[in-house]
Symmetry: C3
Subunit: 643 residues, 3 copies
């Protein structure tokens, strides 16, 4: 199903009916509105104006559109910020981040919680039973623009309270943090300081707790909104629209509050954000890399416990990346089908019509700037709508054969203490995911500690802290389990395990990490044996009691095996990673379908989808009978067949 994001407040009221009608004509079923409209709903404290939104919702509903309403908390109005400056967040340099764009609040401000609860309650109460309303979106893109963590006085206050609860006494805090090092011991929680602007690096344990504190706050804040909404609008579902490549808070915990997850898919902008090489950035500039959107689809399907939407789908060039190329013809259609292939319920485009003013005026819409005229992207959406109608309802998404265990805390831990400047957790997971999909495999993301039942292959690119639940789940897994370096390298207090890494997995893997080398770009260590390639960036010296399947140039173990558990002692370069994942798939007895780097395959129910991100044709597997597309998959084309 298709949807669209719409801002009635941006356009003259006389245009609303036409807009609604044209949406329906295009084949759109859902419309999301309202998430930035606070200053129109409450222009001054206590002065409300709902008339316009009443009319807008009535018109949309009358046209047959199903409405998703956003709470407007991402954009507190100026009068509120002036009344309560404690709402304002601070950057890591200690500067207030002022009014004038969006997300100018810190989750630590108590005033902010009060004010958020107030406006959410008012909106939920008024519209909770509107006949056009089918669901809610809380806030907008938590964490976007680096807004999870804030470094101001309210944050310090909140952090102290959080620490008091976590540690009860400063003795326990000092013990947990190892404060004796450099005389950092505290005698009272009042002495706690923000872990920024220190002379040299602050205690990594403090920084991790500061990150956890903020992550916890996001989940709790979202829960507060959800509870209010559920009270006043019990029949409607709730989602939040997550962002791409934002890992500053634990999305799984926010997902626990929600009925379904959604995310905002800007595949081309993300090419500039992810640490690709310049060669890759040029190559994928006008299509995006073929795993960027899928990676997030699979991640947010997990966050949504199986249900997810794309709430905002890029429909053409955007405005916020360093460069913003027009997507190649066909890509808007391709991305839409791809989201559906990965299990999306709805793909909703951002936005109906390009704005002519303010920050996002260079962001394409389904209609040209200010006009009632479909843009190139709008025409592609129209085509998908027709194809979707022809194909009929899509089957249910099944469990994949491969699980990738994804752990937000490992991102925080390795950002806090990279040890090698280019150790980036997100990049690592992305590359493993890419490697699996190059083998034609479907992948599920799994939360640490969740059951791994039914997976033929489980991969853990890195999991710095292995909790008791995570250990148990991994040891209970019956498939092949592949564990990456740096796993189990810290306990919950950011302390090296007393049996050395991989700590709780020492027994299961048969390994002990004696020392770690981080290698600057240009340095590598050759690996040979059952797999071949090179270790780069991170390379462990292992004492292995199990089988050694591959070794570094000096004979040190590079890949070990004990039972069904493989352990890799380095960051793998491209060759080594390919070799490793092939071996793992083989051990897991998985049937693979290796594809060129510009082709991707994905199954949903009895349908197989193929997508071409490249510049060359690709022949479908022999015998495929396409229900969409032809036997030859042209550049930017989509094919679907029953398997």
């Amino acid at each position: 199903m298709l949807g669209v994001c719409y801002y009635p407040e941006h356009w003259d009221e006389t245009r609303w009916e036409t807009d609604a009608r044209r949406m329906r004509e295009l084949g759109i079923s859902f419309v999301r509105i309202g998430e930035f409209a606070w200053s129109r709903l409450e222009p001054r404290r206590g002065e409300f104006d709902f008339a316009w939104l009443d009319r807008a919702m009535d018109i949309l509903h009358a046209a047959g559109l199903k409405i998703v309403l956003g709470t407007p908390t991402a954009t507190p109005p100026k009068w509120l910020v002036d009344e309560h400056p404690d709402i304002i967040p601070y950057d890591e340099q200690g500067r207030p981040r002022g009014f004038g764009s969006r997300r100018h609040y810190t989750f630590s401000s108590e005033t902010w919680w009060t004010e958020s609860a107030r406006i959410v309650e008012i909106v939920a109460e008024r519209y909770g039973h509107h006949p056009g309303l089918v669901g809610w979106q809380t806030d907008n893109e938590y964490g976007c623009h680096d807004t999870t963590v804030s470094w101001g006085p309210e944050d310090l206050k909140g952090f102290k309270s959080w620490l008091r609860l976590r540690y009860q006494s400063t003795d326990q805090l000092n013990e947990a943090w190892g404060s004796v090092f450099w005389s950092m011991e505290l005698k009272s929680f009042d002495e706690v300081a923000l872990p920024n602007l220190t002379v040299t690096e602050p205690n990594p344990a403090t920084r991790l707790d500061f990150w956890r504190f903020h992550s916890d706050q996001v989940a709790a804040y979202d829960k507060m909104q959800c509870e209010i909404i559920r009270k006043h609008s019990p029949e409607r579902w709730i989602t939040h629209n997550f962002m791409g490549f934002v890992s500053d808070f634990d999305h799984f915990k926010v997902g626990d509050n929600l009925d379904l997850a959604s995310w905002d898919s800007y595949p081309i902008g993300f090419v500039e954000k992810f640490p690709f090489s310049e060669v890759e950035r040029n190559r994928w500039a006008e299509t995006s890399h073929p795993d960027i959107a899928p990676y997030h689809h699979d991640l947010y399907r997990a966050v949504g416990k199986g249900r997810f939407w794309v709430m905002e789908q890029q429909p053409g060039p955007v405005n916020w990346a360093p460069w913003n190329p027009v997507p190649k013809p066909g890509m808007v259609r391709l991305w839409t089908w791809e989201a559906l292939a990965h299990g999306a319920d709805v793909v909703s485009y951002f936005r109906w019509r390009q704005a002519t003013f303010a920050q996002e005026q260079m962001h394409a819409g389904l209609n040209l700037a200010g006009l009632d005229e479909l843009s190139p992207g709008g025409l592609e959406a129209q085509r998908v709508a027709g194809e979707l109608a022809a194909l009929g309802p899509l089957p249910v998404t099944q469990q994949a054969s491969v699980a990738l265990v994804f752990d937000y805390q490992s991102y925080w831990t390795t950002m806090i203490q990279p040890q090698g400047k280019d150790f980036r957790y997100e990049e690592l997971c992305f590359r493993w995911y890419e490697g699996l999909r190059r083998l034609g495999l479907d992948v599920d993301f799994v939360r640490p500690g969740a059951s791994l039942d039914g997976y033929a292959l489980v991969v853990v690119p890195c999991m710095t802290e292995v909790t008791e639940e995570a250990r148990a789940a991994l040891e209970a897994a019956t498939g092949t389990v592949l564990i990456g370096a740096r796993t189990g390298s810290r306990d919950r207090n950011f302390v090296i395990p007393s049996n050395l890494p991989p700590g709780p997995l020492g027994y299961a893997t048969g390994n002990r990490v004696i020392q770690v080398s981080t290698l600057r770009p240009g340095l590598s260590d050759k690996v040979s044996g059952a797999i071949a390639g090179a270790g780069i960036r991170w390379r462990e010296t292992l004492e292995a009691s199990g089988e050694v399947l591959a070794r570094f140039h000096n004979g040190d173990p590079a890949l070990t095996k004990k039972g069904n558990i493989l352990y890799l002692a380095c960051w793998a370069d491209e060759a080594l990673l390919g070799s490793l994942l092939s071996l793992a798939a083989e051990k897991a007895k998985l049937e693979t379908l290796p594809v060129p780097d510009y082709i991707r395959i994905r199954r949903r129910g009895d349908l197989t989808f193929a997508f071409n991100y490249g510049t060359e044709n690709w022949a479908l597997p022999a015998g495929s009978k396409p229900v969409l597309g032809g036997g030859v998959l042209e550049p930017q084309a989509v094919a679907v067949w029953r398997h």
Copy 2:
């Protein structure tokens, strides 16, 4: 004629007579003094010491030198800053920019206007009728060191007042800015905030107004000084010495206050400042790029309504660039002749003698550091003086055949919203200028909206807002008009025109811009047809109703023609730009004289000048009879002949 900048206050009084005598012996006619001397003129509030300046001016005058006196407002003394800290400017990071160098004031401070008026009046009154005085310089290098825009409390106060005048009501302001987007609506002018340090980018319309506000202030501040000077010194002309590659305020508006423009020509330092490639930077390191000084000569001739000086000419290595090479032998002479060829009345060297102390002690002068001994640059100046005397008075500068419409606001607009990170307005204009001069053409800079009568060719590299006057002037032009991409892309409120870009020029060009792609370095789109090369950086999708002269690889229009108006739909790479300008010159029926990249030609009256920036000889056009130099133009040489 030649001049020099002199600081009597830097040297023992006993040396002044010798200095004045040696200036005259060298062939110098003009001497600029006084622009940094506030602390010597008024050591403490209300305590004045004019005796030294009286003596210095008398000595210079007695030696036959004509004096240009600077108002000392670029360097408020410490006692004044301590008395009135509100004078201090703030950087975009919100930090005060303290005392200890120069230009430590914000144009927004009311105290600063009062104090400036006071000192200017005192100085103008005392020296306004001095027999040696021929002219005034206001302040020094407005905008240098990023001092046009300031981000402090005084600036916010001034901005609010400026907005009140511009918009009268916040309803109108909200409408103009599109504040409804992201709930940025204001209910009172007191709610206006500085558009910096926001969470993500601030409203571009707000930023543009903030820039306009500061630009207006520079012009008004300068006007205030001019009015005081004219009251007390009605017979003398007034100038200001502008800087190179500073476009933060509208120089044309300041020029309106002045009798003539002047600028400070540091061709070598500017090589490091302009976004050249490393290859170009190395190539031109010791000569400068052959268009840097000419570009500014032609610009400031326009700002000065036909009259300009070089107030500060680099006479050797300077001190302020990342690297400061000694210019190749001959370059000081070449630059001097070149300025005259472009119409300068006077070329004045900075400075008479290298200082031995303080910030600029590594900046060469005509004399060695602290000594009465000509430097290598001093010897070249001496040679020019002799040649000038031999050649006799130079003819009057005539209107060129080509007009380049230069628009400061387009610089601000594209800096605020680059959309592609490397879209730099100054670079664009510079490359078009370079391309025209590679064809041997003379170029006039023209202010947007000014008459284009008499120009065979008019080029508009980019003009984001096309005012009614600018539209009328372009449509009235009878020559060939070449318009670059992004022109007419915004209205005065930073809003996309309702007929899409190029907005007011939609009819005249026959075009409508449907979407825009910005391309990262490495990406390009091939263009072929009447011109050939590639589009880079910025590429529009055009609907064209006129003739299409060239197309992109997919057939989209790249160059269109309707009547006498050409429109280019991209940023042109070097090949495309050369091809384009040749075509335009041909259509304009201009006779061209293509030159190698190290040779430049310029005409003044019946004289043609040639300059060699390279390492190879160049033969003068057949039949040229040089009145200066020979038939073969050697590296770093100058030739002049009558055409």
Copy 3:
């Protein structure tokens, strides 16, 4: 002799005896403790707990270890910082540098002096006569993490006082600084401002005085600690552990307070800190560059007036560089022997056991993290201990044949006014040192103005201010004296000498510097004659009255000779530097032993040591009879023979 750094407070008391015993078993004689333990010694103001340290020292002593006790001033506890926030330093951006790591104090705070004196007195009094105590360490790594210079209110206060003493009157200050330039004149010392955050660069003379002020403070602060210690512990020696590549204060002046110098040798981390090319960084990533440790050994031998220790020797990978590779096998042993070859009395490893918590948990120790089990580095230390015992006492270190005059102020001066962005004084000295050692020569560092008696060759890479003492020492030198460019370019007030550079050495060298060109990377000027290669970065135009041994491409003098003094007029590229030093050695009649870039030689008494940093074997000079190692020096091996 070997030592180790130990933190009893990091480990359970029950482990101390085992630790002490195992230290002795390894062959360790010295143990440094206590330098970060303030919060354990004084948990709250006035509440002391010495019991644990009493016990620890008794146990170490009982095991036969000699104790070095550090004063704990590098880590003031939180209660003290909260009580006296004026202790906190400020960065150059004007931000306080908060509690939470170490060195969070400014030398300018009077409170800090009082508190430091208090804790040093208490500790010195209690332990000054402990039978296990042999020496003291003041504080820890002065200047590390950029903590010499601070930019806060206390610093401004202190700076004003320092200026009052230096200049007595503002007239003299204004004269010295050339404040007349840009109206920077001050009428009272109260008007002095910090020389940061100015609009453009501040007066270099002010900045130099600000740097001198801080450098003086470090020496005075250290002296204060030494005087207190000597009062209470008169029989023990005192040292300070200096850092590598920290030149913000004059180490010679601190050395005047001490009985011996020591330094902290992290050869691999420093590879990332020094401005090597990427090729060099990759090449030496796992061994370090073969001159990094030796350069500091020779420097600190001079600072310690002939006596020095390595107080902290890297025993494996560290944690603080951008990448932290494991050193190649053999390197820990090699570095240890190398330090001894250069005259170290003791090499003390940092640290006994890898910490499991806090900032340095990824820093290797002699034992694995948290365990009683030797790490790979620990095993190498054990091997050295055995070899040392076998070889017996090492001979006394003799004076070298070559003196390198090293001047901290030249570092400050050229940082303040690089003129060419890549003019780095430390790099220059390092490259000259490297060039000398590539000829197999031993080098002594010498303080400016110190006697140069007995040196066959004296090199002065650069000495911006040549004091009367320095001039006299150079002119009195009987060996060959080689002086580099930029020497004598400023007087004590940062003013260009009235006879132009090299100022006081104008007569002795026969030279006068007319102008200076700084060359961007990619530009160079060919030199030929008695030496060959190219000048890069800095190139002077010289008037030479002596002999010209080599010339630039245009005939300007590049190398001159007058009497025994050679003067080089540029920064030499690698070829030119090699050629120059060979010529100088030849003129000095020194016997050289050119070695490949991965081999180094060093003599101590009658022993010659050789070290292999490379990947290829090297044959010892014919006839060498190794007392350690074989006739073929393998990669990472050490050889010692009697000459």
